[in-house]
Amino acid sequence: MADRGDVLQGTLDMLVLKALQLEPMHGWGITERIEQWSESVLQLGQGTLYPALYRLERQGLIRSEWKVTENNRRARYYSLTREGRRHFSDELAQWQRMSRAVNLVLEASLKG
């Protein structure tokens, strides 16, 4: 099943970390949050989300715990670790530099 607006390779991790920056969240919440922020352009495929979550946890960037939701259901909540926060700010800075550079190039060619 093709996802509308495939998340670029490598940026998924960053998006997940960003979503968790404010508060701990469960997997579905993360997809909702990203969809919402991206004005429905980015719809995460679960086939990518959960492997990514487990991978990030294995890398020690996030941790997880079971909590009870407002509707009294058990769900696994993910939150950033200290290392995850540092990693995110590094990645963010890098991304901003890159995207600015790409934008500069693209705009230059538009003018030309």
């Binding site: 959960y50 294995r58 020690g60 259901r73």
Partner: protein, 881 residues
């Protein structure tokens, strides 16, 4: 830090796997439920909402799998995936897989088969108590025979004087005619002193061995049976112990049965009997019997100490009794060495040969893998671009090789089992390879085979893996056709060169052995072996004395001569090969008697009249024996050309007289023998020297045993039945063994023949593998160059010239391989020296022939793909891109 976290996570995941995976299910379920609720809120019916949510989620199983991959330890998981992937890849390329598997199965199987023989024969300890402390004792002769039989009188002295050895006993061959179940039967066994069983430290499975009194007491009435004979002929009944076995020398009490597979230094025996001679009788024995000695090192004594002491004792004996011991020495040898000394060089040569076959197979599979992996360079380039590390790719390729090798190993076991059968059939009981019948495919061999297979897999896998994955980014950049190819071609060329070189070494070795075999087969034995049936007959000594026996044999020979199809017939005391009948010394009566140790030695062969004619031995001067030569007439002999050349140079030997060291029919040894004839030389072994020979009439040196020689114009095997009838008509209780003389002679060179055949087979296999290798590499190279070929042809080159170009390039590689191989073969040929007969290790004909053969085969192997290349070009050539 990261690694620690990884390790911690890994451990946690290992321990908490079940709960964690249950957690995953719950987590995914939660996700779907949330999504469903969202759709319901948006206005869908619950059923539709659920369906949409599931659809959106996309394959719950897939998500579970992929997520779990993140939980499980990556290394193990990757390996399993690699194995599956490797197996799939092999499955999809059956042509390649079959070629590679066949190559590996041959290489690995042959190695396993030969290794198991080596292990059984050379490496496994003998089934004796502390086998390393058992020694054999032999004498050497003045003409350089290193393992000669000992003088019983010397043995009596050793037994008394040695302080370093215990349980000194004699061992010698023994034949016995026995009546088992009313049938006469000829048994082959050993005479053993009673100490021999203690020296070896082996006890009978039932009953007992004989005592000092039953041996040195001088009365001969006991027997011990071999397990196999006891099983086969006496039904394995334990109640035969204590009963009497009727033998030619009278009844013998069966004392015991030795364990299954028991041999004395590899000599199988139906029975064991004592020498039954007192120490005084041994001391009085003037000549040499047919025995050697075994003994055990005393506790705390080293082998060297024992050997030194024995040498000291022997030099005293040489000084004290020069007529017996002048210019002789004693040889003490570990029993294992005595057993395998003869077969070791051959086995090691075979090990070397299979090792080379295995190497060629490795190189071959490596080049197959490499040529094939060229097609996969893009795949690897792609994967690298997507972030796969090189280590990961190398690991995957190695895993594929190991999958291949494991399959090859399993197939190799099958080949090894077949090889075993072939080997046993080839060796049969013609070659005395000790313990060959114990050959088996057991766990150690299976483990060895699989270890060889895995080592092979790494060996042939690592080069292609490293070459293929090197800088794959370049590959991607230019479409994967050219950049990798150059490096690949270099490696392929190296592989071709080494393959050619290795198979040349193999072929050169095989060539040397084959040439040596041909020389051996072409040795003129001095008689015509074809068309002769031989029958070894023993008359029971209980009912025949030698005079009666002569009469009976004469009658039998006359009857056989009258059989239809028989050209002529004669008898002799012994087979012509492989042993000298009686070995002794002699001297000219008209010269002063030479001192002890100075006398020339000869073999003495008692024969009936007509023997020379029947055997096709040339009568050079004088006459044959005839009916006028009787026990009472003048003692006469016929001598060989060699004896005349050495003793009567330039003289007429006829009428001269010799003293020869054996007893006349009268029992006297001081008889003067008159030379009445000269015949051509007869060899008693094909690879031995021509010895001086004395023929004596049977009537003047009779016996109760005779070998009948029957010459026929037809297939000698057809006469077997009627000859047996005649013999049994003469004496129904006489055991007979019939064989064609060709078989008798052939058996004497069975070992070099088996070795040459095996190495030649390995050589041909190596050559075939090398040819396949050259063919494969050239095919690949032509495919790669289709475009170039097309352009050349389009520009006016003839097909012929293009073929020349391609074959020429292949030949350059082959030349390099041949040159390297010749160098290596010359270095290694020396190690074959002891196995060669009449051929120099650096025989130029063999080397030139081998090189030529390889060049021819390699040219053919390169020519076929080249032809195909120009046929394909230019039509398809420009289409390749």
């Amino acid at each position: 830090m990261r690694h620690l976290t990884d390790a911690w996570q890994w451990m946690r995941s290992m321990m908490r796997r079940p709960s964690r995976e249950r957690g995953l299910d719950e987590e995914l379920q939660f996700h779907i439920d949330q999504q469903t609720e969202k759709y319901v809120r948006a206005g869908l019916s619950p059923a539709d909402a659920r369906r949409q949510a599931m659809l959106r989620f996309g394959g719950i199983v897939r998500v579970q799998e992929e997520t779990r991959d993140q939980i499980r330890p990556a290394l193990l998981d990757d390996s399993i995936r690699d194995v599956r992937f490797g197996a799939r890849i092999l499955w999809r390329a059956p042509g390649f897989t079959i070629a590679a598997l066949a190559t590996l199965a041959i290489g690995i199987g042959a190695t396993a088969a030969i290794f198991s023989v080596t292990r059984t024969v050379l490496l496994e300890p003998l089934p004796y108590r502390e086998p390393g402390r058992v020694v054999g004792i032999w004498e050497t002769t003045q003409d350089g025979v290193t393992q000669n039989v000992i003088a019983p009188a010397n043995f009596a002295e050793w037994r008394e004087r040695s302080r370093t050895l215990e349980h000194l006993g004699m061992v010698g061959p023994a034949g016995l005619a026995a009546i088992v179940g009313g049938e006469p039967e000829r048994l082959k066994g050993l005479q053993c002193s009673f100490d021999v069983f203690q020296a070896l430290g082996v006890h009978p499975v039932i009953g007992r061995t004989y005592t000092y009194e039953e041996d040195y007491g001088g009365k001969d009435g006991v027997i011990i049976l071999g397990h196999e004979y006891w099983q086969a002929r006496l039904g394995g009944r334990p109640d035969v112990i204590g009963t009497a076995l009727a033998t030619e020398g009278g009844p013998r009490t069966i004392l015991g049965v030795m364990p299954a597979g028991f041999t004395v230094a590899g000599q199988k025996a139906d029975f064991f009997i004592p020498f039954a001679q007192t120490v005084e009788q041994l001391r009085a024995y003037s000549g040499r019997g047919s025995s050697y000695a075994v003994a055990r090192l005393r506790d705390g004594v080293s082998f060297d100490q024992a050997a030194t002491e024995m040498r000291t004792i022997f030099s005293q004996l040489e000084h004290d009794v020069p007529e017996r011991n002048a210019r002789r020495k004693v040889l003490v040898i570990p029993i294992q060495e005595q057993m395998v000394g003869d077969v070791r060089p051959g086995l090691l040569a075979l090990m070397g040969a299979v090792g080379l076959v295995l190497l060629v197979s490795c190189v071959n599979v490596a080049s197959l893998l490499l040529a094939r992996s060229a097609a996969r360079e893009r795949e690897f380039g792609m994967r690298t671009a997507f972030g796969a590390r090189r280590v990961r790719l190398v690991r995957q390729l190695l895993t594929e090789s190991l999958v291949l090798a494991t399959a090859g190993g399993l197939a190799g076991l099958l080949v090894a089992a077949l090889c075993h059968r072939g080997l046993l059939a080839l060796v049969g009981d013609r070659i005395p390879v000790p313990r060959i019948e114990q050959l088996r495919l057991d766990l150690p061999i299976v483990l060895f085979t699989m270890a060889v297979a895995l080592a092979t897999g790494l060996l042939f896998g690592v080069v292609p893996a490293l070459v293929t994955t090197k800088q794959p980014n370049d590959t991607l950049r230019d479409g994967g056709r050219h950049s990798g190819s150059r490096r690949l071609h270099q490696v392929l060329r190296t592989l071709v060169v080494s393959e050619v070189a290795i198979s040349l070494v193999l072929l050169a070795g095989a060539g040397l052995l084959l040439r040596s075999l041909i020389k051996l087969q072409n040795v003129d034995p001095g008689f015509r072996a074809g068309g002769v049936l031989t029958a070894e007959v023993d008359l029971p000594t209980t009912s025949y004395d030698t005079a009666h026996a002569e009469v009976a044999f004469h009658a039998a020979l006359t009857r056989i001569a009258a059989l239809p199809g028989v050209v002529s017939t004669a008898g002799a005391s012994c087979q012509l090969v492989p042993y000298a009948c009686i070995g002794t010394s002699f001297w000219r009566v008209d010269r002063a008697k030479p001192g002890s140790g100075e006398r020339p030695s000869c073999q003495v062969r008692p024969v009936t009249p007509g023997f020379f004619r029947t055997m096709g031995i040339a009568q050079i001067a004088g006459r044959d024996f005839s009916e006028v030569d009787t026990a009472d007439s003048t003692p006469v002999i016929v001598v060989s050309e060699e004896l005349v050349r050495q003793q009567f140079p330039g003289e007429n030997p006829l009428g001269r007289r010799l003293r020869v060291g054996f007893n006349h029919v009268s029992g006297r040894e001081d008889v003067e023998w008159t030379i009445v004839g000269v015949v051509g030389n007869v060899r008693s072994s094909l690879d031995g020297p021509v010895r001086q020979t004395v023929f004596v009439p049977r009537s003047q040196r009779p016996g109760t045993g005779m070998t009948l020689f029957v010459r026929t114009a037809q297939d000698p095997d057809l006469l077997t039945r009627s000859v047996l009838d005649v013999v049994h008509h003469m004496e129904s209780q006489a055991p007979v063994e019939t064989r064609t003389l060709d078989t008798v002679v052939g058996n004497t060179i069975a070992q070099p023949r088996a070795l040459s055949i095996l190495v030649a087979v390995f050589g041909v296999v190596g050559l075939a593998l090398a040819a396949i290798g050259v063919y494969g590499v050239m095919s690949y190279s032509v495919r790669e160059r289709t475009q170039e070929i097309g352009v050349r042809i389009a520009l006016g080159a003839t097909g012929q010239s293009v073929v020349h170009l391609i074959v020429g390039q292949a030949l350059r590689l082959v030349f390099v391989g041949v040159a390297l191989g010749l160098g290596a073969a010359m270095l290694l040929a020396r190690s074959l020296e002891s196995l060669l007969y009449g051929v120099e290790p650096l025989d130029p004909w063999t080397f030139a022939g081998t090189a030529l053969l390889l060049l021819t085969i390699a040219t053919a192997a390169a020519y076929i793909p080249a032809r195909r290349g120009i046929r394909m070009a230019p039509v398809d050539a420009l289409r390749v891109n």
